[in-house]
Each structure stands twice: as C-alpha cells, then as structure tokens.
Symmetry: C2
DNA sequence: TTGTAAGCGTTATCAC
DNA sequence: GTGATAACGCTTACAA
C-alpha cells in the first residue's frame, strides 16, 4: 500500500493524500475525511525512506556513548531516548568504546546515516583537556549537523555543550573532607577525560587552599572495576591515606570494600566520597557519600536544546550545571 | 555530491559507480580504481535514504526494552549494539516502559521505520504466562519482520526466542537453600512477567519436592528499589523467614540491607540469593550469591540468529540457555 | 564490462 | 482546494 494506491482508492491525487498525511490546512474537511478513511481501512503508513529521500531527514538523532552498560550512560541514554521520542524523533545508538580511533570511526559511520543531530554522551568525547587537540572529528561532524555534548565542552560552531561544574564539585567535596579533619586524601580515577581532569583540578585546589601538599603518591589511576580496585588498594603496604575522593562511584565502592576487608571503621578510620550518585552508592555498605551530577538534568536541557536548534531557534553554546554533594554514611560531616 | 557527480567526474555511468560502491565483481580493475579515486577525492558517501528506498532496507535493527537504565537491559543493549554493528547493522533503540499499551505502541511505532528485524529485550514482552494472551502485537510484528526475544518465549511464525531456564535455576537455588537447612524462604519479586512466573514455579517445586509448604505470606511483590524493599521488610513485625530468594539482585540487596539494619548475621541468621549477577551483587556487603543468567550469551546467540535469518538460513525457534548459580557470601553452602 | 533507463514512494512547485 | 509532475539518489534489469 503506497500513496498511489490510497490516492486511487480515495479518488484524489497523491498530492492530496500527502497533504492529509502531513496535516496541511489546505484540504477541505470533506476530502480529508475521505482520504483518512481509506488510509485507516488499508492500514496505510507512509514509507519513511521515500520521505527521507525527499526531505533529507528521517527524524533521527544519533547517540554515541563509549558503552551503555555503564550506569551513567545508561541513565543518560534512557532519558534521551524517551524524551526525544516524545518530540517525535527516533534514536540510533552506537557504543563506540573509548579509544580515540574508535570514537572517530563511530562518529564517521553515524554521520553517513544522515542523522538530524548528534549527541555525544560522556566527557570522553571532549578530549583530555591536556594533550594536543583531538576533537577535530567532532568539529567536522558539526559542519554537517548540530552536535550536542553531555558533560563535555568543546568550543565550535554548531556544537552545544552541557556540562557539570566538576572542578567546583570536587573542590567542595574535598574541602569538606579536609574541614572534617582529613589530611591525606587519596584521589582515585579511572580515566584521563576532560571531566576527570576537572575533578583533579578541584581536588588540588582544595588541598592548596587549605595549605596541604599535593602528593603524587596519593593519586591513583586504575580501571573502574570494584574487585580490582579493592585488591590494588589491599596490596598497598600501609594505610597511608585517611580518606578517598573517587571520580566514579565504582572506584569508591572498591575503596570501601578494601576498608571493610581491613576491618577499618568507616567513616572514622576512613572517609570516602564517590561520584555520580549511581545505584552503586546505595548498594554499598556503608552507603556512599557521593556527588550527584544530575545526569537527567543535563539530558533534559540537551533534548530541549536539540529541538530548539532543529527549529532554528538560538541556543547557548555552553551551559554549566551545578552538582550536589549527597551526604550518606561514608563521611562524618 | 551524489552518484551522478561521481559518474560524471569518473567518466562512467551511475550504474558503474553503484557497482563499485557495492563491490560488484563485474567491474574491471582499471575502472574500479578510477571510480574509487574520484570517490575518495570527493569524500563521497552514498545516500542511505535513496538506497533504503530502492532496497526497502536501511540495514537497521529495532531494539525495544522497557528501560535501558536497568542494568540487565543495558548490558543486553550494549552487547547487541556492538555485535550488530560488527555485522554492518545499526540499531534504533526504544524504551517502551512496561505497560501493555506502551509496549504495543512502541512496537507499532518502530515497525513504521521499516526495520529489518525487531529485538525485544526482557521477558516482559513474552506476556505474564498466566493471564489471557496479550502477545498478539508481537505476532503482528512478526508478519512483517523477524522478531527476536531476549529471555522471552512466544510461539509463532518468524518469532525466535532465546531464554533462560529460569524455572530450573530457581529450583536449584531454592533447593540449595533448603538443603543448607532453610525452612522459611521468602520469595521476593517485582514483576508479573513470564520470567518471574517461571522463577516462582521453580521456587514452589523446590519446596514441594522437599516436603515444605507453599505459604502465601512468604511471597512478596514490590518495586525493585533498594531502599523501598529494605523499608518494607523492616516494617514487618518478626523475622518470619530465614532466607530470601529474590527475582532481581536489587530486591536481594534490599533484603541484605534490612538484615544489616536489624543486626542479623548473614548468612547464618539469614541467607539471601539474588538473580542476574549484576554489579549490584558485588557492590553489596556481604556480596550476593546470585543466579547468573548469562545475558551476554543470550545476546550473542540472538545477534547471530538475526544474521542467519536475514540471510535466509534456518534457525531454531526456541533456544533455552542454562543459568549458573554464583556462590558468594550471602549463603553458607 | 559498461551504459541506459525504469522504478522505489514521497514531497514540493506549479498550474488551474 | 486540487491535480500533474518534477525532483530526491540509488539499484538493477536489460541492452549493447
């Protein structure tokens, strides 16, 4: 059943059927009803490819994240997919992995699909913030379609960034640790992303402003796998730290598990702060004090911005969003 | 840049360009190189819509799950998306919610996109297994494209089910509890899905075969939210159960938290078994004994089956997959 | 091996 | 308010 069949059955032209389908006002009520009836009876649905060909759009948004099995990204994707659906857009999802090559390839491949906009979830797409620039591929994509970053910041035409004030959040969290008497704060991270760099900057600023030294031995980098983190920390000789600030909840849980295994009292012997306010933080025992980085809020702003940009409205290129420290049981402030 | 431009620049016909693009063998090496060079130089990429229109396929698989922020579904979607990408297929993702109406609507909407195959993730699409049949919409979809269920079983033409032996897994788990001396086993569930029913059947069979009574007061139904579960259990007067078998890890964690709050010793005072072998199970303290239902395996089989079916090869309509009980610290066997 | 031309099913631009 | 008809860019018989 295509538009010709419907036109014939309804005794009108394809143009009229098309007008009815697209809700054009320039159709008499009589004709409209007639066409609608025939469409109903024959369960007619327009061919999206033909429409796509004509309009050069299939109302599809591309979403790329390193891996949706990650809790943070899953929450983001879930929110985006639902929200964009409400706006009548579908989503193609890619999981790119986190390597530079992989990310570039994913973006290149998804661009071929003639998506209407591209969303990159996770600060990993914003580059490391330290090395030489490796975000050229994002700017290339932005020449064709608007690009939206969830928790990443890239300057450029047609690129829209919504991101957390991670430096500030880390500063606040670490300051709180220091003000509760902690002196040797372990910084635990799993990635060299832009966001992780921000967090480290906040960590260092807090130390500095409180007159504490920044020690390389108290900065650890490892994969975000709970048991791995626990074992690495267990293997270290002495408890050379009195608290932990982790850039991911999973890392923090690993630290908690290490403390539990050692029989340390939390939060008195060891205070721990995680990041993301994921389900991990309430799964863990004692439950994790963590930074809530408001994924859903970032996504909400992004989805709305996408619609605005597609409608041609103007939108801020950079929108910072505050984080909130959620106090639970791994800290004593 | 379209195929005409390339054809003109290369001094050949569009048909030849098309042949080169699609790797047809019927092109001389000389012509092929000539065309390839022009394509390179002009960064030509075929228009997917035009191709879709002609072939009535855009190499897209539709995936629907109730909510990808759920850990189980996120793992499934992550695996599927990557694997199908390797096969050259893209994925459109819908999060349908879990209501019957929502599921039906999601399927109807995604079918309009002319996807090449449909994957339904989660046993919720397989119906409850008890009520009247409510899976007609799945069979309808199967009239147009092959439908693949991840952990669900629906009989029908063009429907391919890969599912866990949940009844058996539950039977084994509950039997293990009983054989370790447990007599009053709380059954905790969050949904009335086909899978949940299977688990309950296994639970009941284990009780029966060990000569224990099936008690309604020991079957609880509640939302899968850790704190909610903990609080509901805490509010109950006496510890009328000596162990818990939960259909989701989150529920089991809630039970563990309740026990911790009450100062009960795990596993001696209370044994707990969860389901899914999610990250929750290693986050939790003590770590959860749980049923590993091999999501990745289900997805791997499904992805491979999709390719076979699309190639016209024949494939089993029903493939059961064994679960494995993972012993951790909440049980003493 | 290569080219020609007829679809594929819409939407949009004209006339009327 | 309605109808012809020309794009849109590709694939694929069919011809050469």
């Amino acid at each position: 059943m295509n538009i010709y069949d419907i036109a014939k059955l309804a005794g009108v032209s394809t143009a009229t059927v098309s007008r009815v389908v697209n809700g054009s006002s320039k159709v008499s009520e009589h004709t409209r009803q007639k066409v609608l009836k025939v469409m109903e009876e024959n369960h007619y649905t327009p061919n999206v490819f033909a429409r796509g060909l004509g309009l050069d759009s299939m109302q599809i948004i591309g979403i790329i994240c390193p891996d949706v099995s990650d809790n943070y990204m899953a929450r983001a994707v879930s929110f985006l997919v639902r929200r964009l659906k409400e706006y009548g857009y579908d989503c193609i999802l890619y999981c790119s992995g986190s390597g530079q090559k992989q990310k570039e390839e994913a973006v290149e491949l998804i661009m071929r699909k003639r998506i209407d906009a591209l969303v990159l979830v996770g600060s990993s797409y914003a580059g490391s913030g330290t090395e030489e620039d490796n975000t050229e591929y994002v700017r290339n994509a932005a020449e064709k379609v608007p690009v939206f970053l969830i928790n990443g910041k890239i300057k450029g035409d047609n690129i829209y960034s919504v991101y957390n004030k991670d430096e500030e959040a880390a500063f606040q969290a670490v300051s709180a640790l220091i003000e509760s008497g902690r002196k040797r704060i372990l910084f635990l991270t799993d990635a060299g992303t832009c966001s992780a760099m921000q967090k480290m900057a906040g960590y260092e600023r807090a130390l500095k402003e409180h007159g504490l030294p920044i020690l390389g031995e108290l900065k650890l980098h490892m994969d975000n796998r709970i048991h791995l983190v626990r074992d690495i920390l267990l293997a270290r000789k002495k408890p050379e730290y009195d608290s932990v600030f982790a850039t991911e909840d999973g890392l923090a849980v690993g630290a908690v598990k290490c403390a539990n295994a050692k029989g340390l009292e939390i939060p008195s012997d060891l205070s721990v702060i995680g990041y993301n306010n994921s389900e991990y933080s309430v799964c863990c025992e004692p439950e994790l004090t963590t930074v809530d980085n408001k994924v859903e809020r970032l996504c909400e702003i992004t989805a709305d911005n996408i619609m605005k940009v597609l409608k041609g409205e103007s939108v801020l290129g950079e929108i910072p969003v505050d984080c909130v420290l959620v106090r639970r049981c791994t800290t004593d402030f």
